[in-house]
Each structure stands twice: as C-alpha cells, then as structure tokens.
Amino acid sequence: MTQPATSLKTTPLNAAHRKMGAKMVDFGGWDMPVQYSGILDEHHAVRKNVGLFDVSHMGEIEIHGPDAFALTDAVTTNAVAKLSIGQAQYSGLLYEHGGFVDDILVHKVADDHYFICVNASNQEKDFEHIASANKRNAIVEFAGDRYAQLAIQGPKGLATLQKLTATDLAAIQYYHFTDGAVSGTPARIARTGYTGEDGFEIYIAPSQAERIWNEILDAGAEFGIKPCGLGARNTLRLEAKMALYGHEIHASLTPYEADLAWIVKLDKGDFTGKAALAKQKSEGVTRKLAGFEMTGRGIGRDGYEVYLDGSPAGWVTSGGPSPTLGKNIGLCYLPAHRAKPGQPIQIMIRNQPVEAVTVPTPFYKRAK
C-alpha cells in the first residue's frame, strides 16, 4: 500500500481510502480521494440514492464567550442575529475591500457559542482574520484538529444515517443541526451539504472517524451507498451552482459579483467589507457570474477565456460535463449588462471559439 507524500496533510480516513482503492490526489495541500468507483457512478449514486464523503479536510473555528455574537457578526456578511440556536447560515468572510477571505457556514450552538465550518486550504488564514478582528474578549479557537467531518448526501441519506442514531433526523430542518450521537459517539449532526441534494454533514472525533465511516457504508448498503471522492463533489456542487473558493469567489471578487447578494445584509451592524459593498451596490457591479451551457462541441473548463462579439470579455470559473443533465455546463464572469440568461457567448477551447449560451441557474434543483 502506497503512502501519501510526506508534505501533504491527511485526514483520519487516509489509510481507509487507500485500503479501499480510492484514487488519491493533492487537493490544496491535502492528500484526498478524487474518486472511488468513478466520478459518474458516484455522482449518480448521490442524485438517486446516497453517497458518503470524507470532508475532514474542512476546517472548524469556534467562537465562544459573551462577545461571540458581536465578533461573529462583525466579520461576516449575513445577519447572525437572524440565527436561532441549532441553525446554520451560509455567509461570507470579507476583506475591507469587499473581496472574499472565504465562504463559510456559521452554526449557532448557543447565544455565546458559534461554530464555523471553513474551507480546508483557507483555515489558517480565516483564523488569523477572525482573531485579528477580535477587539473585545471573544475566545477564538482553531478547532480543525478536533473534528472529522463526513457528508452523507442523497435521497437515502436520512434513512442511512437514521439507522445509527437515536436523534430524529426528519425533525432537523434544512440548514439546521443538533448535537446528538452517531453509533455511540458524540456528533454534531447538520442537515447541510455541498451537493444540491438532501443530506447530512456530521462532525465527530477524529479517533472515531474510520469506525463511523465503515458503519455508515454498512448502514447504506441496502440503498446502494457509494463512497465518493472530490471529483463527484465538484460535479454535484457545480450543478447546484454552489461556489468553490478560488474559482467563483476569491480575494478579488465580491459577493455582488459572485451572484451572492442574498448573503449580504447591509441593514445589519457594521462588518468588515460593508463600506466597499455599499459603494459597489450603489454604483452597480461591472462584472457578474453567469451560468452557461455549451451549444457547440466541446467542454468549457476552468480558466478558459470567454468572448463576446469576437473580443475577450470574461473567464470560466468552473466548467465540465453535467452527469445529471447530460450537457456541458459551467459558470463564468461576464460584463454585468451581458450576464442575463440567453446571451450567446464563445468559449476559447484550444484557440478555437466554441458556441455557448448563458442559462438560468442553478442548473439542477432537486424536487422537494
């Protein structure tokens, strides 16, 4: 059995992935499974049945104390005051100039305790960013090492996980969570995900990760559960038009440009980036994220140039085949006034312009 390159970080499930024959890749400095049985097979398993992902590379930051609310609200774009205990919220962590430090999930555990899930390769930067904004006395804890995270995604996710917990999972609403136990180990059980499908993300002790991973695979066997890698995670999130840091969003892109105005609450108190966003809102954005579908033969991929009327006008942030729709889809930045659905565009594929058209997003929305 091969070992990961020593410079790469690993999750508690690294040996299990290798034992089970996953194809491993370097993902932002982490040795992660890109696929098990195949990206298409895993993608369809999540859409039709259930898939299990190791997402322990994701980071966790906990904010405690009487000033926890004030700090959390001051560093995020969404309205933390709107959260009930046991509720989660997608939000942005911004620089003063309005660009993204990261996109994050804020969970309200208690009035004086917020649990934030952040992107793997941004976690140290995020922690520094939040800690440096801590003007009062909140306790900011870098907690990535205390949690393994598994995602159980798909229409049979609930039935699979329910076999391992006494918590009534059907009672957890979408973007809510509860602290319970999975197969005898304490678990934060959240009805969240990055696939556009119903499902759960659970946070457990790293020492229990391999045992729980195997028990979930056993519990889901009757539903055809598949262990899944980051390849399927990417095709699933793209169909659901969920942003990926470094692609749709990064330090030079704002929530308004990224079509994420819904996570910006300018009517709340002050927060990092607010002034820049208010200015951009009043002036209007010059570029905007749009979905597209290839109409010519070819696949528009990350980084390819987008042309309008024969001139460079933008770039593809994520693109590839959509296994669910059987089309080649993608997201791209375009001049804002040309970013509405129905706009013909050309994508430069190997120095050849190939026809595509902007379309409404998300590309895929599950039936509720």
């Binding site: 194809k23 696929q35 990206i39 298409l40 033969r297 070819g298 696949i299 991929r301 085949p321 080649n328």
Partner: protein
C-alpha cells in the same frame, strides 16, 4: 494485458500495423488514469500527423489530456463510434475504441516504440 502485436509510447498510445496502415489508440493504463471519458477530439480524414506531435485530446469528467501520434502519416479513417459514445474508450481501449487509422509515411518509426513487455514494465514502474 497489453497485446503483444501492438507498439506503445511512453505517453500511453498504441499502434497496430495492418499492411501500410497503423491503427492507433490509447492504452488501458491511460483510460484508467483518466477516469470516465466524456469527450474525444480527433482530427479529420486527410489530416497529416507527425510522430510525437499532438493528434487530438481526450477529456474525462475532471480534465483534458493530449494524445500524441505514435506514427507519422495521413489520417484515412476516424472512429465514428467515439463521437456518440466516448465512454467506449473506458470499456474497450485496445479493441473497438481505436481512435484513428493512419497511412504510414515512415514505417520505420515503429522501431522507436515500446514492445508490450517493455510498456508493461514502464507502467508497472510508473
């Protein structure tokens, strides 16, 4: 695993010689490395190819990979099967899912390619 009558490149293409024509494909190792293949871009009949120069590309869900021609010559036939069903490249890379047939302009080039045994050793060691 690797047919003995094929000749292989280190870029994972193969060629099988039939008279003055070379039938070209990618190896089983290549299709496994690529994963699910969703698109194949091939030259048109009449195109002139050179040994070691780009022939076309194969795209999996994740990525694009260039294919290099193992021999020089003129394309005389393109496998029509692959435009509608590129996934055949995952299923039968040494058989039905050949890519192009090339009229060999320099048959001696074959001597520069790897035998099945040498290719097996090469991918085994990779």
């Amino acid at each position: 695993m690797y047919p003995a009558n094929f000749h292989y490149t280190k870029e994972h293409e193969w060629v099988r010689v039939e008279g003055d024509v070379g039938v070209v494909g990618i190896s089983d190792h290549a299709q496994k490395e690529l994963g699910d293949i969703v698109y194949v871009d091939l030259p048109k009949p009449g195109a002139h190819l050179e040994q070691g120069k780009p022939l076309g590309s194969v795209e999996s869900v994740k990525a694009v990979s260039d294919i290099y021609s193992p021999v020089s010559g003129e394309v005389v036939e393109v496998n029509a099967l692959l435009s509608a069903t590129p996934e055949k490249l995952n299923e039968d890379p040494h058989g039905d899912a050949w890519l192009v047939k090339i009229k060999l302009s320099a048959p001696d080039e074959i001597k520069r390619l790897l035998s099945a045994d040498d290719y097996q050793k090469y991918v085994g060691a990779e």
